[in-house]
Symmetry: D3
């Protein structure tokens, strides 16, 4: 079972600890990205995980590729070209102070990619599952077309397609996002999102939440999932329910909706003392994919994906370095945190 | 509107992270001080902020001045002389373990300053607001006289005077403090303090608090403010109400009392996961000054100052690096800590 | 009053902060070990504390000895020999993610020690108190014999013997532990343990706890202590009661049982925001020894030991660097964490 | 005497120590740039130094401005706008391994600046000296025009103009550079360059050097300076003569040619053990400007500028943090490196 | 062309900078080993490079594998088992102070490997070149047999075999080494060594050197190579000639002897300012293999390998991160160290 | 043989690497001092080494004591009192840039010590050798008297007295130094100095050196030593001869003059690539003391002391962490820097 994730890999430049950006004169440098995070998590889970992107043909691009190879991700399909690596600056929040992300990703080498760069028939030859997110079509007109082509080609070959809606207001306005995403979503089997994504990228607002207050309504999530299914035909809709008490403490649970069975399954809620919440949603997506690939039942899938993404938020960096046995240990122990010797 | 803050700038030598002093063989070195913290916060808020002090005419003194210039503070009035930079060692507490401060500031270049060093008529030429704290007169007999002279000169020119009582038991005993502070306070328009300051520096103990238990009584604060007003004529009294649950978690709210209106205004209480609480009170003072300068109404002032000082305690270092828009964002969001992209 | 602690000193290689092992390319290197931790804590308390072990006669062994000398521990009885320093890798947990310990201590120089290495008559010449733990006999057959000999020799000379059961499943199976420990325990005056130790090392399971849920029953602890006394004749049994809410938050209290008085004394419970929990039990043992040496009453002893070990868990590293006055300050303040200037 | 330097400020992301890029997962982050380096050095020398540029109106741009303010540079003329901060990655070389610079500065906010952004009549109101370099016109067509306009406006007001040719092959080809630079150079009073700049930016190749072998011929430099003077009318031509033995050891001397006096003055040669050579040329330019402003004689000027730039290469970072007295100390001591207590 | 390197991968724990071991309380942790270094260098050169070893089946073993995957080494043949990771402590020397290595590698998981662990017929299926070193047979009796079997199997399949003699006196005495190495060397096509290896591992002492004085005689090296060829039939003998002036400065050149052509080829000598000399010999071996695989002529091969290993010694860590183009740049530039922009 | 060193222990706050003071926001913090450096070096050599000083009775003073205990120095005679720890800021030089020391040691707890603090009859009870330096009497009038008393008391008990002249111009002027030192020196058996000390502290200028140029004349040193002997009766005069080529490279050799034998012995000269030269002279003094204690012959003594102090300058920090076997290894190898495995 080969899973191909496709998207941009970025350089993340993070202020150390709880300092403000440029308070100290070094930046922690790691490579990441919504889709790369999924690829790494799947590889750590033991899945044959491939990653496709375009990177600059210089030491920065090579370092990005190496960062994926470290975790065993198959990077042989990655394309090299002239251009720049997109990047973002991160300031980690604490308590009432929110984390801040400053993007510097415009005109990155991937956003300037041509349709000819990706010959999907060849790319998909040995692929069983294709994962992408709503960030990619937001990068450029070209990338929107490339994503559509990729999904069509995947569909033609009978490849399962999963998409994390991942709406980013800094990349495109909601109306533009809806226009593009609605077309591509009909080729998607598994749709992963949170309540904001569903609204901004698909216009599905039946989820009646009061996010600021941290109150989330389970029923609304089910209705939202039903709407996604009835409009786009997705077989599974998986959503995360984050209660943001502060930058340091979040409630975290999730739902998977099985459209065929017309049934929703909810995980327990974890009360997380946040170490680094960036990449939480991506690690959830990887958990969902892992569960489906391994034919867990729906309750097991949502339990696994939620536990996996809970663990991600207790470690530094975008990548979820948790193994399947780490996740299982959390499911068994309930998270009491006793030392493992 | 030019605000001049006057006081000592110190070298802070802090043990990294949650280590004990000298557990690691490096110390984090930054410059700070109750009044310098106010000057920096005001400058970051966009106010024309000047700082007056005396520093050693060597690389240590220059580095201190540079640290202020970094934030745009006008340092052109600072005096250089032979002598030493005062400093303190800081060990950051956690949970039940308190933070520890070891002062090594005696016989610093400022504490040995002469009255001739400061020609107030010239210094105040372009100044609209003068801010000082109860630390300065505690440094030496000379400094007590200098503070008195400064306040008189300010009054003469119609400059608004604010003072943070900032009682430090390691610098002087309570009876000495009261003797000195009571005389100078009659020249002060805005008095900033907490319940301990009011007691130790002014002998105003009507505030009936059980600090150890973290229980604070709003009424007592109002009565305390009234007493300060009736004794010294201050127009505004602003007090912080810290509930010290542990070194890691504090409740934080504040009050401003408008003597003319005979009315007290309380902020909401923030439940803070502490990153670095040193400088919390100073950032509150800066918030009060900012609010008054910008003619916010009383409720807005105390809301702004409390939110500003809440944010300070969620970041590393003594300085509050929060901008006005950061503070406004907290007032709007309520502190849910969602990532800002 | 000279206290001799005997056991292995290990190199601890810890991933920095909340990173996963080898996520960063450095490891924090300190020396520690259950018995060495007790020796250091006693020395910081002002007790004449000696440490006995065998270390490699190279720069690693010397560094381990130096790390103890730093705190004033008398290391003159330590033996040097050819061999390797045992070590362990530590990954600090957070929230739902548990800390992980990977031991690499097999065939260490101490585990390969001969009985001739230790001439107890000479070693004990100026010793009043002998402390060891259940880790030592688990290291090797030889070490089990050496511990038995040491306890017998101590008994002969009228030296008080304390033992922390410290069961480690990675070193020996429970049935092996019980066989060995039961024999040696009859020479022990003060037995220190938690509920798991009592079960795994002694087979005393009357403590009916549901650890995972964090529910602990005071009564069971008293019954367990009575059983230890009636089976092995120990005069004092001291147990810690940890409620592991998560890797970041623990409830912590303790009991001392005075067999002669047939009475148990419980401390208050501390709600700890964990900085580093490794060494918590050892610092408790040191607190118990300190209390008994200084002839505190039973309630004072358990209060002191619990407060001491609470503080340990709020600082980095295995060693408890808290002084007696630090502990007293916590007992007085109740742990409000206000800055000490 | 107010000196205005104009150009781009960049974020420099440097691999720590002698590691390769991304070998460690942090990057040392500082702000710099050929013209900013000059502005800082002049300010540290005590000159009234202004800096003009355009930066992004976000936390990255503000941090860049703060980095200059730290040294007392007047940043009040800096323009803020939407866009990105140019940056470069630096890998420091050692011995036979060269330093590597990877630029990511295309489409920076300054390179996209409009001619209307800079109203030279206002900008130059209080300016006596204008400094720019050949990097700025290389950034974009617009910037080439802006530089030309600036020089014309400066000339009109009788402002002295200095230019460091600073040819960068990665920004523009030699023929393009020559076309542009030749036109602007006629407005330049002081031309600063090395032998490669003179060739690539002006086509003046009379300097017959064998750079690879490190052999430089003094005579050629004089002839080159004469050619620059006769073609463009520059009054002073200052050139550095670097002998690159390896990335760790360089010979460093310089020449100033006084066109009116028709005489060249050479400094002694320093044998430098390199700490960080980036910014060496910029610190030389600052030294030349300082010498001319302070009406040193020609020999003093070239001695001062060479010593200043020698010191720069013995410290970390692009900025020359040496004071005038540091430079004088080197001129006096000859560089024996004895400890200054 | 697939090259398989076989040997132990170790954890290297290095004191930071020029500190003594345990002077600071962290150790830089990287994975390395004579054969792993070759595998990484070949992969960075673009060769299909496989690595074979046995590692512990825990987080330490996985991290070691990841460190190789980072560089694209094929790690799919690596075996996991119960046991410990060998390691060494490194203190970097400077000037007159030598680097110190303290091994803690005894009873590592590889040294305890069984002959059944390695089924050479399968392992060699897709292999064209087999590289091993004299460290492996020194680890244990088993490993000596395994190396012999491997070489025989390789010979049978017509695989080219290269061996770096790499004598380590701390692993085995010279007479034992000679006994074992002489037998295996007859299966080796390319023998890589320095003068000490040749003497200690093979007893070939015709090289008449005075190492301490740094005087090396080219002729002796040729005679030594002839002797190796005539005794063991190796087709190529490549030797490095290090002049150890101090821990900070070394002369470095090398020779390759082509037995068929009966001709020796010497590189130029590099005067290296050492950054980290560990791994210098391994990077030379990788350079030789690369040159032979790519059918360079003999002079080109020795030039390439010497330049590659010169670069290695100018960067941190055991691995040579230089690309083919980095090496070519050195060959072209001669090592003047001018900045590459 | 118990050696007591007496003097001040200081906190050293050093800018990391080759940065300027306060360029980075941390300072490396270690404890040191001319006499403490000797005490540590002797202890590392295996000598029973005691240290006497007065330190603040707070966490800073305790950390200073711990830093000495780490190396096995007997600190039981150290006095604790109210006051401050003296400190200095250090900026490490490189190449032409000199190291800078900024003292902040005035009014330290030791400089304010009373004569009653030191009861020499008790202090000297178990002492065979007393070492002090010219820094101590320079601290204050009291300390000058205390040093004189100490030397007299030592003489009375037949204790050997060694003194390193260690003239510090920042502590006292030359004429004051001469007045004081001449009186005390008559009680000194072994006088250690360099040419500047001899001149400034004793007025012995027969050493005709041109320090700036690095040219030192052996003969002059011998005549200087003879003068010291004939004026003050010292039995041995040991002098270091530093050729300061730059902050990075020094020539280093030394002489011991045996007054009884009327003969001078010179070591070889080491060409040192400096890592940290502070403490070089102190490690030389320790070497001389070690040699005399162990009854080496004069040539051996000067060889040992010079090699020891050469090694000191190749490691970080003030302390010489070299063992006797490290020194012997340098004497044997000549400093070729080959890796020790």
């Amino acid at each position: 079972m080969n899973v191909l994730s496709f998207g941009e890999i970025l350089l993340r430049l993070a202020a150390p600890g709880y300092t403000k950006l440029f308070q100290k004169d070094c930046l922690e440098s790691t490579f990441c990205g919504g889709e790369a995070n999924v690829a790494v998590s799947l590889s750590v889970f033991g899945v044959n995980s491939q990653f496709l992107t375009k990177v600059p043909d210089n030491d920065v691009g090579i370092a990005a590729v190496n960062a994926l190879r470290y975790f065993g991700v198959d990077t042989s399909k990655i394309i090299y070209g002239e251009g720049r690596m997109g990047l973002y600056y991160l300031e980690k929040g604490a308590s009432q102070r929110p984390s801040k992300v400053i993007y510097d990703r415009s005109r990155s080498v991937l956003s300037l990619a041509d349709r000819q760069d990706f010959v999907w028939e060849e790319i998909f030859e040995d692929v069983n599952w294709f994962h992408w997110t709503g960030i990619s079509p937001a990068l450029s007109e070209n990338m929107a077309n490339i994503c559509l082509e990729a999904c069509k080609a995947a569909k033609n070959r009978g490849i399962t397609v999963s998409c994390d809606l991942n709406y980013r207001s800094s990349l495109w306005p909601s109306d533009k996002a809806r226009l593009v995403m609605k077309e591509i979503l009909s080729y998607v089997d598994i749709c992963i999102c949170n309540e904001e994504d569903a609204d901004k990228a698909l216009g599905i607002k039946t989820i009646d939440t009061d996010i600021e207050g941290g109150k989330l309504c389970d029923d609304g999530y089910v209705r939202g999932a039903e709407a996604i299914h009835s409009n786009y035909g997705c077989k599974y809709i998986a959503t995360t329910l984050r209660k943001s008490h502060s930058a340091s403490r979040n409630g975290w649970k999730a739902m998977i909706y099985d459209a065929e069975a017309r049934e929703a399954f909810f995980s327990k809620e974890y009360d997380i003392q946040i170490v680094d919440r960036v990449g939480g949603g991506d690690s959830f997506a990887a958990g969902i994919i892992y569960g489906l690939i391994n034919e867990m039942n729906n309750q097991e899938i949502v339990n696994f994906a939620t536990a996996a993404s809970c663990l991600k938020q207790t470690m530094e960096g975008d990548f979820n370095r948790s193994t399947v046995s780490d996740v299982m240990q959390l499911l068994t122990s309930g998270g009491n945190g006793r030392v493992q010797r």
